[in-house]
């Protein structure tokens, strides 16, 4: 069953002149950690704002936890947690007060909300700053507090908009480990443009570009489906790399796999990896070029991303 689903979702601004979402179709399976990937301005934040009931779509439909999305649905909002891209909280509240306040908005009693707040402060490493005002927190502390308030009600579905922004490497590692632990228990939709984060924690990936979903697949499968594997050759000189590329173009003709040169390195993208590798080795030997390294690898998420949205970014 899909925990989140959208159908032909459209959001336009300035009387249709700016199209933030263009018939977005999205399906996020229950219990998955879904990486919502796209370049800046692709529509990730707009989609999340619609799904959390903060923004009304221009047209199309969306469901979260089986509930139709709309800003009037308190039942929907009782099942979700949300961390915005740039979380902002009341600077005059202490960290603990903020979490108690957030918990009580879900109908929890003061005592239970206090215990939950203490638990979350401990978990997010903010226990020592619990009685300090949020206005004095660093960017990383605010981000961790943001994640804590997002899960204060143990939500069924969690929306995280760029959760690792403004975190140092250690904070980022902690957050990613935390998200990974939610797998199977909570459905997580995490927007990001950091490919490495997606590869680390997400089991499913959706790539959005200019308001449209351009690819959705399991993380490991995405490379196989949307980008050819790569043969990478590194020569001892840039001249040798250029000579190889030139010879490869003659050898392969217009229909063969293309060669991309960058300094001493040449990348060949081919659907038949074994054949491309054998042809490359034969060509290097025939031209007697000084080869330093030859490597074959399957397409990475970055390769897929560049292929699918490279033109836009």
């Amino acid at each position: 069953m899909d925990a989140i689903r959208t159908s032909a979702l459209v959001k336009s601004y300035e009387r249709g002149k700016v199209l933030a979402l263009n018939n977005l179709d999205l399906a996020v399976p229950e219990g998955s950690v879904f990486g919502f990937l796209g370049p800046n301005g692709a529509g990730k934040t707009t989609a999340i704002k619609i799904l959390t009931g903060l923004v009304e779509p221009t047209s199309g439909e969306a469901w979260v936890a089986g509930e139709p999305v709309g800003n009037a649905s308190a039942r929907l909002r009782s099942q979700i947690g949300y961390l915005s891209q740039e979380p902002r909280f009341y600077p005059w509240m202490t960290g603990r007060e903020l979490l108690v306040f957030a918990g009580r908005l879900f109908g929890t009693g003061a005592g239970t909300a206090g215990r939950r707040a203490d638990e979350l402060l401990e978990m997010s490493g903010l226990a020592r700053a619990a009685r300090r005002r949020v206005g004095g927190y660093s960017g990383g502390m605010v981000q961790r507090l943001g994640i804590a308030q997002a899960i204060v009600s143990a939500p069924r579905i969690l929306f995280l908009d760029e959760p690792c922004a403004s975190l140092d490497p250690l904070g980022r590692r902690d957050v990613l480990e935390f998200i990974a632990r939610l797998h199977g228990r909570t459905t997580v939709l995490m927007s990001t443009h950091i490919l490495e984060d997606v590869e680390r924690v997400c089991d499913t990936v959706g790539i959005i570009d200019r308001g449209r979903m351009v690819a959705t697949a399991e993380t490991g499968e995405l490379g196989r489906r949307f980008a050819a594997p790569v043969v990478e050759l590194e020569f001892e000189t840039a001249g040798a790399a250029a000579a190889f590329a030139s010879a490869w173009a003659e050898f392969g003709g217009a229909t063969g796999p293309s060669a991309a040169v960058e300094g001493e390195t040449v990348q060949l993208r081919a659907l038949d990896l074994a054949q491309a590798r054998a042809s490359a080795v034969r060509l290097v030997a025939a031209k007697d070029l000084p080869l330093a390294r030859l490597e074959t690898r399957s397409a990475s998420l970055e390769d897929v991303f560049v292929r699918l949205v490279g033109g836009a970014s």
Partner: protein, 254 residues
């Protein structure tokens, strides 16, 4: 609307008013004018007389009465105190939109109606408390310096004054929900105040405007019953401003 989020938000608003010192400032301003108004009424004629005597001019002024003290009190609270009140309440909604804190609350199971109602309820409670404090101070000093005013008349005068202040607090609240910045909300609120004040000469219509409440307050202190027209007019304006605030805030998108 579930009542629980309303009370949680009400508590938060109240704490915010206290910690931002807004409640303290409001209280001090109103207490000051409550205490100072009878003093102004008592001593202004004497100051004017002494200034006139120094310059060889004889100024003849009637002896001040409790009615003058009430008139001074109504004028001060409806002008300088109202100015401060608009200044303190113009950011009620728009500040949360600007800072981004509204988003944090609105994705929780608290409706936009509860969000607004709690804010307005705390503003109203603060203004009511301030008027009560100010009224007690003004009454005490009026008794000390003049003849004691009729208690029921003085209470009715305060009621009319309170309704006048609540009307403008609620219109300011509407502009705070509508505007994109505190400055715009403030400017629109002050312009509305000036506009409504300048419509005072419009015959029958002016009877329904909140400005009529001020003269009614002064008359009430002298035992004249409050007229129904400005009560209805101000009540309608309050209802309109609140409904307007709810409608525009429902459409607001962060």
């Amino acid at each position: 609307m579930s009542r629980r989020p309303f009370f949680v938000l009400f508590g938060k608003e109240l704490r915010e008013q206290v910690r931002s010192y807004r409640l303290l400032i409001l209280g001090l301003v109103f207490v000051f004018f409550g205490l100072a108004s009878p003093l102004f009424a008592k001593f202004t004629p004497e100051i004017l007389k002494s200034v006139g005597t120094d310059q060889g001019v004889t100024i003849v002024l009637p002896d001040p009465t409790a009615a003058d003290a009430v008139a001074q009190y109504v004028k001060n609270l409806s002008q300088i105190a109202l100015f401060v009140l608009i200044f303190l309440s113009m950011g009620a909604v728009v500040a949360e939109k600007e800072r981004g804190t509204a988003v944090f609350v609105l994705v929780k199971p608290a409706s936009r109606l509860a969000f607004l109602s709690a804010k307005l309820a705390v503003l109203w409670a603060a203004v009511t408390g301030a008027v009560v404090l100010s009224g007690l101070c003004a009454y005490g000093y009026t008794v000390a310096l003049f003849q004691p005013p009729v208690v029921t008349g003085f209470m009715l005068a305060n009621l009319a004054l309170l309704l006048h202040l609540l009307t403008f607090v609620t219109t300011t609240f509407f502009f705070s929900a509508l505007a994109r910045s505190q400055v715009v909300a403030g400017v629109l609120s002050f312009l509305t105040w000036i506009l409504l004040a300048s419509l005072g000469g419009l015959g029958t219509v002016s009877e329904f405007l909140p400005g009529r409440l001020l003269s009614a307050a002064m008359e009430a202190a002298a035992g004249v019953p409050l007229p129904w027209e400005p009560l209805v007019g101000s009540g309608a304006l309050i209802a309109l401003a609140f409904v307007g605030a709810v409608l525009v805030f429902r459409r607001w998108e962060p």
